[in-house]
C-alpha cells in the first residue's frame, strides 16, 4: 500500500469518513442471495448466466451463481439479479 493510501485510510478512521469515497472502494449491498447492488465499479470483465466478473479498484469481484442477470448497468452502479452462491474478491 502506498503512502497516499495509508494516509487516506488513517484519515478515514480518524474522521469516521466513508471509506468507499476516500479509498475508491466498491460498496456492495446484498439482499439475501437473490439481489446484489454494486456501487463504484470499473466495468464488466466477463459475464455469463453462471459467472459475472466485475472490475473494481485493485482487483475483481467474482459472482458465481445461477440465472444471473444484469438488471441495470450505469457507469457507477450495477444491479445483479439471480441466485448467488459464491462471492469472491480476486485481488
Amino acid at each position: 500500500m502506498s503512502f497516499k493510501k495509508k494516509f487516506r485510510s488513517s484519515l478515514a478512521d480518524v474522521f469516521e469518513l466513508p471509506k468507499e469515497i476516500l479509498l475508491d472502494l466498491p460498496r456492495v449491498t446484498l439482499v439475501g442471495n437473490v439481489q446484489m447492488y454494486i456501487q463504484n465499479h470499473k466495468g464488466v470483465v466477463e459475464y455469463t448466466d453462471k459467472v459475472i466478473r466485475i472490475s473494481i479498484s485493485g482487483g475483481e469481484l467474482v459472482i458465481q451463481g445461477e440465472g444471473l442477470t444484469i438488471k441495470n448497468i450505469y457507469s457507477e452502479e450495477i444491479f445483479v439479479d439471480g441466485l448467488i452462491y459464491h462471492l469472491e474478491y480476486a485481488v
Binding site: 464488466v44 466477463e46 459475464y47 442477470t69 438488471k71 448497468i73 457507469s75
Partner: protein
C-alpha cells in the same frame, strides 16, 4: 417495479441480441457513453439486453468497432405503436369514426318514458311531447326542457307539474296530476250531534240550523245543528200543500258550528268505620318443584298452603339453551302468611277515604282537554251508621258537537 416498466414502455425500448465473444467490452464502452442497458442475460454466446431508442442509435458504431453482431429481437413501447398506427391509416380512421359515431348517437334521445299518469291518458301526453319536440331522434342539446315541461302543464289541464330528466339516451317525462277535491254531493251533508249528555251553555252556528238553544239539556246522540234547511214561509205553505214543492224548499248543507255544554262526571266512594286489612306476619312456607311437561316433581316442600290467609309468590325459571327452550321449568312457590287486622276508623278518616275513592273514579272519566268548572262532594244517607257513602261530581264545560254524516233517501 411496474411503474418503471410503464416508463420504459412509454419511451419505447428495443430488445437486442449480441453475438460475439467481446460483448463485455461492448457493454463497458456503452455505459461509458451513457447508454443505459437493462436486463442483460446471456445464453451461451448470445447476450440479450434491452436498450432505449437513443441508446440503440449510439450503440451501432460501437458494435462495429468491437466486431459484435447486433440484431433487433423485439421493439416495444408507445413510439413503435404510434409508428405502426401511421402505417395502418384505415384502422385509425375506423377507430376515430367509431368514437365520433358513438358520441353522435348518444347525443340523441332514443326513448321517451312517461311516468305518473293515472287519470290522464299517457298517449295524449306522449303525443303532446312529440309535438313539442321531445321525441325519439331529437337532438339532446337543442331541447329546452323547461319550456317543454311548462307547455305540458299548460296544455293539459289535469296536470299540475311536469319534469323532464334525461339520463343517457332516455328521457323521462314525469308528470304529477292534479288531485281532485271531493265533489260536493250527498255524501257531504251532515248534522252536528251531541257526543255526550250535557246542558248547553253556548252555541255558534256557521252553517246549518240550530235545533237546540242555550239552557237546553241534551242527551248523547241528539241533533244540535241540523244540516237540513227549511224555508220558513208559513203563508206559502198554506197555499201550496204539494209535497213535491215542499221538498224543493228544503236544502241540505254540511253543518258546521261549535256547541259548548256543561257536562257532569260522577264518581262514588264507600267506606266503613271498621276497616279490614291483611298484613303479612313474616311467616312463610316455601316449596319448589321441577315441572316436566305436565308432571311436577317437588324438590322441597309439598306445595300445600298451610295458612288461612296468605299471598302466593310464584317465580318460574325456564331452562333454555341458546334459542331452544327445554320443556322443563323450575318453579318456586312461597306462601306468605297474612293476618287479618281490624282497624277502627274515626268518622273523618272514613269520610276522607270515601271522598278520595270517589274523586279518583270521577277523574278517570274526565277527558284531557275539559275545562273543570266546579267540583262537588255529596254525602249520601245510608241506613247503616258504619257505612259512609259519598258522591263526587266534577262539572266541566267542553265541546260536545260531533259531525255525523246525513244519509238521504233518493
Amino acid at each position: 417495479m411496474p411503474i418503471m416498466n410503464l416508463w420504459y414502455y412509454m419511451n419505447g425500448y428495443i430488445t437486442i441480441s449480441i453475438r460475439g465473444s467481446r460483448s463485455e467490452r461492448l457493454i463497458n464502452l456503452a455505459i461509458n457513453r451513457g447508454i443505459i442497458l437493462r436486463d442483460i442475460r446471456r445464453f451461451g454466446s448470445i447476450a440479450y439486453m434491452k436498450v432505449d431508442i437513443d441508446g440503440f442509435k449510439k450503440l451501432r458504431p460501437l458494435a462495429r468497432r468491437t466486431r459484435c453482431k447486433v440484431k433487433i429481437e423485439k421493439k416495444a413501447g408507445i413510439p413503435f405503436f404510434i409508428y405502426r398506427l401511421t402505417v395502418r391509416r384505415g384502422f385509425v380512421a375506423g377507430a376515430v369514426f367509431f368514437v365520433i359515431l358513438l358520441y353522435l348517437l348518444s347525443s340523441f334521445i332514443w326513448f321517451v318514458d312517461i311516468v305518473g299518469t293515472e287519470e290522464v291518458d299517457p298517449h295524449l301526453v306522449s303525443e303532446l311531447s312529440r309535438e313539442l319536440g321531445l321525441k325519439p331522434g331529437a337532438f339532446k342539446n337543442t331541447l329546452d326542457l323547461e319550456k317543454i315541461s311548462n307547455e305540458v302543464v299548460i296544455r293539459v289541464p289535469d296536470i299540475s307539474w311536469a319534469g323532464i330528466e334525461i339520463t343517457g339516451t332516455r328521457a323521462r317525462l314525469e308528470i304529477v296530476e292534479k288531485v281532485k277535491g271531493e265533489e260536493p254531493g250527498e255524501v257531504g251533508y251532515s248534522h252536528i250531534i251531541a257526543s255526550k249528555d250535557g246542558l248547553i251553555t253556548d252555541i255558534m252556528v256557521i252553517s246549518g240550523m240550530a235545533e237546540v238553544s242555550v239552557g237546553d239539556t241534551v242527551t248523547a246522540g241528539e241533533v244540535l245543528i241540523s244540516g237540513i234547511l227549511r224555508a220558513d214561509f208559513p203563508e206559502v205553505e198554506e197555499e201550496d200543500d204539494d209535497s213535491e214543492e215542499n221538498r224543493i224548499r228544503e236544502s241540505y248543507v254540511r253543518s258546521r258550528g261549535t256547541v259548548e255544554a256543561r257536562v257532569w262526571y260522577e264518581g262514588s266512594g264507600v267506606s266503613t268505620l271498621l276497616e279490614k286489612k291483611y298484613e303479612p306476619t313474616g311467616k312463610y312456607s316455601s316449596s319448589s318443584y321441577i315441572k316436566v311437561g305436565d308432571k311436577q316433581f317437588y324438590t322441597r316442600g309439598d306445595g300445600q298452603n298451610p295458612f288461612t290467609y296468605s299471598r302466593l309468590n310464584q317465580s318460574r325459571r325456564i331452562i333454555r339453551w341458546r334459542n331452544f327452550k327445554l320443556p322443563v321449568e323450575i318453579v318456586h312457590l312461597q306462601y306468605n302468611e297474612l293476618n287479618l287486622v281490624e282497624k277502627e276508623l274515626t268518622h273523618q278518616e272514613a269520610l276522607d277515604k270515601a271522598v278520595l275513592q270517589a274523586q279518583e273514579e270521577a277523574r278517570k272519566q274526565l277527558p284531557s282537554q275539559a275545562e273543570v268548572v266546579e267540583e262537588n262532594v255529596e254525602i249520601l244517607d245510608t241506613e247503616d251508621e258504619q257505612v259512609i257513602e259519598v258522591r263526587y261530581v266534577i262539572e266541566t264545560i267542553e265541546q260536545i258537537g260531533k259531525e255525523k254524516p246525513m244519509v238521504l233517501d233518493s
